[in-house]
Every structure is written in C-alpha cells, then in structure tokens.
Amino acid sequence: MKVIEMPAASDAVKAKLICAGILISGCSGSQSALSPAGAGAEQIASLFWWMAGGATIIWVIMIALSIYTLHLNPDAHHRQKSALFIIGGGAIAPTIILTILLIYGLNLLPALLARPPAGTLQIEVQGYQWWWRVRYPNQSGEPIELANEIRLPRGEPVEFILSSKDVVHSFWIPSLGGKVDMIPGRTTHLTLHPTKTGRFRGACAEYCGASHAYMNFTVDVVEKAEYDEWLAQQSADRLAPRNEAAERGEELFLQTGCGACHTIRGTEADGTIGPDLTHIGSRNSLGADMFVNNRENLQNWIAHVSALKPGVKMPEFRALSDDEYQSLSKYLEQLK
C-alpha cells in the first residue's frame, strides 16, 4: 500500500503507522486534521494522539489480561485479590483516567473558542445550499464580496463571522482548526491561526440537503504581501472583455438574466441570489469546489447544472446555442 507523504516528520511516522495499520490512506493531505497547518489544528491533533495512545494502551492491557486469565492461568483466582483488582481496574482507574482526559480536553477549549484581540482580520462567511458567500473587509468602506474560496495571510489570527441564510451548515477547515455551525438567525464565530502556507480544503460538516457532499471550498494560505496584492486585485471591478467572443458573452450574460442572481462588478449585473462572479476566472474551482475551473466545465455548468449538482438553486439554460455557450464561458473564463 502506498502511504501518502506527510509534511511534518514526527506526525508522518505516527500517521503512516496508523494508515498502514488500518489500511487506509486518508490520514494526510489538504483536508486532514492530522496534518495541521494552524494553531488550533495542532492542539486538536495532539489531543487526538493522546487519546489514541491512551486507548491503545488500555486495549493492550485488556487483551493481555484476558489472555492471562483464559490461557496462562485459567485456574480459580484468589477471591479477595480479584475483587480488589476489579474495583481498582474497573472503577477507580477509569475514573482517574477519564478525569485527567476531561481536564486536558476542557483546558484546550477556552483558547480555541476565545474571541481574538481587536483589530484582527474579520472575514464574513454565509452558508447557502450549496455554496459559500465570502466577504472581506475593505479599508475604503464596502466589504469585498467573493465566493467559494478563501484566502488567508499566514501567521496572523483571522476571525470568521459565520451565519446561514437557509438551513444549518457547518464551517470546517480541518487542517487549520475546529468546526463551528452556521445557524440561521444567529451569528457564530471561529478564530483560526494559519501557521503554514499552502492549499487546504474546507467543507460543510453538517448535512444540509441533496448536494451537501458538494459544498466545499479551497483555502489558500499565503504570505501577507501576497494576500494584500490578491485582495487589491479582487476588489477591483471586472476586467473588460478583451475579445469579441467575450464581449458577446457579456451581452448574453446580461440578456439571458444571469444578472438577476449574479453580480459582476462593473456591469449592470447586480443579483445577490447566487455567488459573485466578478473574478470567477481566477477561482480554483467551480460550484463550491466541485469541478476544475476551465472553459469546458463552465459550459457544462451553464447547460446541465441540475444534472451535475442535485437540487442546485440555479436554473439550467438549455435553450442557448453552442455558440452562445462558448461565448458565455469564454467571457467568464477571462474574468480573472
């Protein structure tokens, strides 16, 4: 079995042992709480290893004891000694061990849940069936709205302000930290502290309907300078169409009614039902991390979206000609 490479050496050994042992190779990678890239995830991973280690020791002792009593020393045992053993090993020891684990676990929680200091970067994320609206703060007033992708500067805390517009969702980036529910009518908070750059995967962790499994997002942790540059670029209006096909695409976009649901800053399209598409061409993926973002997939999305994503809240546009699909997807593709 091939074991996927792990970034951190010490965790790598542990994870490989576990992976090899139970014949799965899902312990590492961009969506694993066991290859942490954030302060919260590191604590959660160490809690996991302590728990797993403790459970393994207890398991080994129990198996050893049953082998001893059944095979090595099957005769009757001393009554009083056995009673002491049962009370000690069966009641007192577990109580002590559970108390220690409880205190250790509880002790981690306040820091994981604490609100960060004032001035911390705050990013607002709203859950929808089945995508994410993301708003970044902007020095000059209006927040910058994007979707289905999050970019964070490395080495500083970030607070997510979470809410939902329909049903309960849950916001989770396993490699960075814990998860927090997004509850309609309430605002919840999650503070993360990314420590490594890289691309990670986030997911909705609360069943929310037919396409729950297709409600994900990518997270790019980059250096602060790169983040600032990226945000400045994303805050700009859309790039004007650079060729005829794209021009035709923008016209079509406005004519076919896409703008009733989607905003493309710099055009008349200012709908807010669906994700902002101002810079759709620069996203890693389409449809909440469902497809690679390329022209062909864009075209398929517009023509067959209901077949691709069950229950999706975007109508299919089947009545367009091949030419028109082409123009639309060329236009969206160049919205970098």
Binding site: A91, T95, L98, T99, L102, I103, L106, N107, L109, P110, L113, A114, R115, H189
Partner: protein, 132 residues
C-alpha cells in the same frame, strides 16, 4: 424458621423501596439539565456585553452541592441497608433479606457513579469564564 418468617414480613417487597435506587442517577440528570438550562438562558438573555459567566458559575456550584448532598445521602443509606444484619458481602440468596441488601448495594454503586458524573458536569464550569 421463626427468624425467616420475621424477615419476610419486615423486608417484604413493598418495603424494598426499589424506586429509591434510581434517585442518584435521577439527581445527576436533573443537575445536568439545570446547569445546561441556566447557562443557555443566562447567556442568551442576561449575560450582557461582557458575556460574564460568574452568576452561572455560582448557580452551578449551588446545584452541585445540593446534588451531591442528595446523592451522598442515598448512597450512604444504600450502603447501610447492604450492611444490614450481615457480616459478609454476599447477597445472592433468594430471600427477602438478600434482595433488600442487594438493592442497598445497587443504590450505593449507582450513587458512586452519579457522584462522579455530576462532578464531571460541574468541572466544565471551572474552565469556562464567559459565554463565548
């Protein structure tokens, strides 16, 4: 024989107070519910902008003392019943006295479990200083 007759009257099933055995776990459940509701209602309605949790902590402290007192009392009385009229620990015969003593033991053990569980619930209040 006379002794036996005497026992079956004194420890007849209706005297065994089987429901008494469930008092400790019931108090544990009540304690959990009370802590949960107090924290939830306080944080939703009264905690104010500082999200202060002190009042909840005091309330949980009081609930815990009350709960432990009731659980402790039932555990102690269970233990006494188990000790009743017997020198050894066995309570496995099919006699009213043994049933009486067995239920005493069961009450005692459930009280011990409920004590630990109640304290575990209360521990949470030691670690959380605010409503966040």
């Amino acid at each position: 024989m006379e002794q036996e007759q005497h026992h079956s009257e004194k420890y007849h099933e209706r005297h065994e107070r089987i429901w008494f055995m469930f008092l400790p776990p019931f108090v544990w459940a009540l304690h959990l519910l009370a802590c949960y509701l107090t924290a939830a209602i306080w944080c939703a309605k009264y905690s104010g902008s500082a999200n202060s949790f002190t009042t909840v902590r005091i309330a949980i402290g009081i609930y815990t003392l009350l709960a432990i007192a009731v659980i402790g009392y039932s555990g102690w009385s269970g233990f006494r019943r188990h000790r009743h009229l017997a020198a050894d620990l066995s309570h496995n015969d099919d006699t009213p006295l043994d049933r009486y003593r067995f239920l005493g033991m069961a009450t005692f053990l459930l009280a011990a479990l409920s004590t630990v569980a109640t304290l575990f619930v209360a521990t949470v209040a030691l670690f959380f200083g605010n409503c966040d």
